[in-house]
């Protein structure tokens, strides 16, 4: 019992407690206006700087979070924008194709490239039209710019196309302006060559080369390419005529298979 009461009997602690109580009660009993203004003054000095700093930190944190949200939104919008851009370009191409189809004299089967030769040089591609749509072997394949190649194999739902850059691809061509005929074949790189052109033949840079029609596969007048270089080899009887094809074989996406035509 004495041990429990011992600390209570220690007068100094009791004195401290009594004084603190007295002070606290005195402060509590102060009238509201001076108490509030004094507390407000002290608060401004002691707490306000930290509150302001805290607000700034919270603000920065908020900005950072907002920034992250905006970045996410921006990424989503960029993706959406890409999709829209793709759709716009596709729309543009399809419109072009539709116009092109309307001006053609041929009966054509529209198709899309579904696989391309992965090599540096595009020699073949798979297209989305097959025998179900009437595609057969050896039908010519064109795009809006010109000749692309010919069908080498046709399956029910897709077909394989031999492109202009295939070393085995040959087509009878004609200089549109001067009607000089030759054989168009791959020369190397992204160029074609009009072979067997006599040295005296009238061929100039800038001439357009079209199909001659001297073939059972290609109709007359399909655009193949434009002459980019003409050179003469003194040892040879023929001119060297380089042609750049009109069709961009690396980018071609929509094609037409010419089903029937009249010469």
């Amino acid at each position: 019992m004495l041990r429990v009461l011992g600390p209570l009997s220690r007068s100094k602690s009791n004195c401290y407690l009594l004084v603190s109580w007295a002070l606290a009660v005195a402060i509590l009993a102060l009238p509201r206006p001076p108490k509030s203004s004094a507390a407000n003054f002290a608060w401004q000095i002691l707490y306000a700087p930290f509150y302001q700093a805290g607000e700034k930190i919270r603000g920065l944190y908020g900005v950072q979070r907002e920034n992250q949200e905006l970045r996410k939104e921006l990424t989503a919008l960029a993706v959406e924008n890409n999709i829209l851009e793709e759709e716009r370009l596709e729309n543009q191409r399809l419109r072009q194709l539709l116009e092109f189809k309307n001006i053609l004299d041929f009966e054509v089967i529209p198709a899309e490239v579904i696989a391309r030769d992965p090599n540096f040089r595009v020699t073949s591609a798979l297209i989305s039209a097959g025998t179900r749509l009437g595609v057969q072997r050896d039908l010519p394949v064109i795009d809006v710019h010109g000749l692309v190649g010919k069908v080498t194999e046709a399956f029910p739902d897709y077909s394989s196309v031999q492109m202009l850059f295939d070393p085995g691809f040959k087509v009878s061509g004609l200089v549109q302006r001067s009607r000089v005929a030759g054989i168009v074949a791959w020369k190397g790189g992204q160029l074609l060559e009009l072979e067997y052109i006599p040295s005296a033949a009238d061929v100039q840079v800038g001439d357009d080369i079209v199909t001659s029609g001297l073939s059972r596969i290609y109709p007359t007048g399909l655009k193949i390419g434009r002459v980019t270089r003409v050179s003469r080899d003194p040892q040879s009887l023929f001119k060297r005529v380089e042609i750049s094809p009109f069709a961009d074989l690396y980018k071609v996406e929509e094609l037409f298979v010419i089903k029937t035509y009249t010469q």
Partner: protein, 172 residues
């Protein structure tokens, strides 16, 4: 009497108190929300009050508690002085508890923290709510109990960490 030594001790205690007050201000303004777990609130001021009372004695605890209460009351100026009253009383009770019941084990210290949070909130509630005990069950206990558990849990963690980080004396 050696007044110089007395002054030095008084100044060092005052400095300690000021640093602890600053810690409380920073905690209350910037960190209290961060350390809250739902309705459970970490009562850092009370933890420091108990620490001061246990380590520097009841008188120092009462002075520290009075100042701490006044500091915390600035946030509710209507009750300016109330927390001083409660905190100084709590310091006295903690000192009494320590001196009469020999608070040495971690468990008894945790019990002390737990009870201190309960008493602190109870007294404050009684004064501010006009001793309306009908509300105690619905308003006070759900949050106060959680805060008491949380605060004593943090105190236990700190004590455990400080105990394990202290170098052990080698005995031969």
């Amino acid at each position: 009497m050696n007044f110089a030594l007395f002054k030095e001790i008084a100044y060092s205690k005052m400095l300690t108190f000021l640093v602890l007050y600053l810690v409380v201000i920073v905690y209350e303004t910037l960190l209290a929300d961060v350390f809250s777990l739902g309705p459970a609130r970490l009562d850092l001021g009370l933890l420091l009050l108990i620490y001061v009372t246990l380590n520097q004695g009841t008188k120092a605890g009462i002075i520290f508690g009075f100042g701490l209460g006044l500091l915390l009351d600035l946030m509710t100026p209507l009750w300016l002085g109330l927390d001083s009253l409660i905190k100084s009383t709590l310091s006295y009770l903690v000192g009494f508890f320590k001196e009469s019941l020999f608070v040495e084990s971690i468990f008894s210290k945790l019990l002390l923290v737990f009870l201190a949070v309960l008493i602190n909130d109870f007294l404050r509630f009684c004064f501010t709510q006009g001793f309306d005990f009908g509300k105690i069950g619905t308003i006070l206990w759900p949050t106060t109990l959680l805060s008491a558990v949380y605060t004593s849990g943090v105190a236990g963690l700190v004590m455990f960490l400080t105990k394990t980080s202290k170098p052990k004396l080698q005995t031969t």
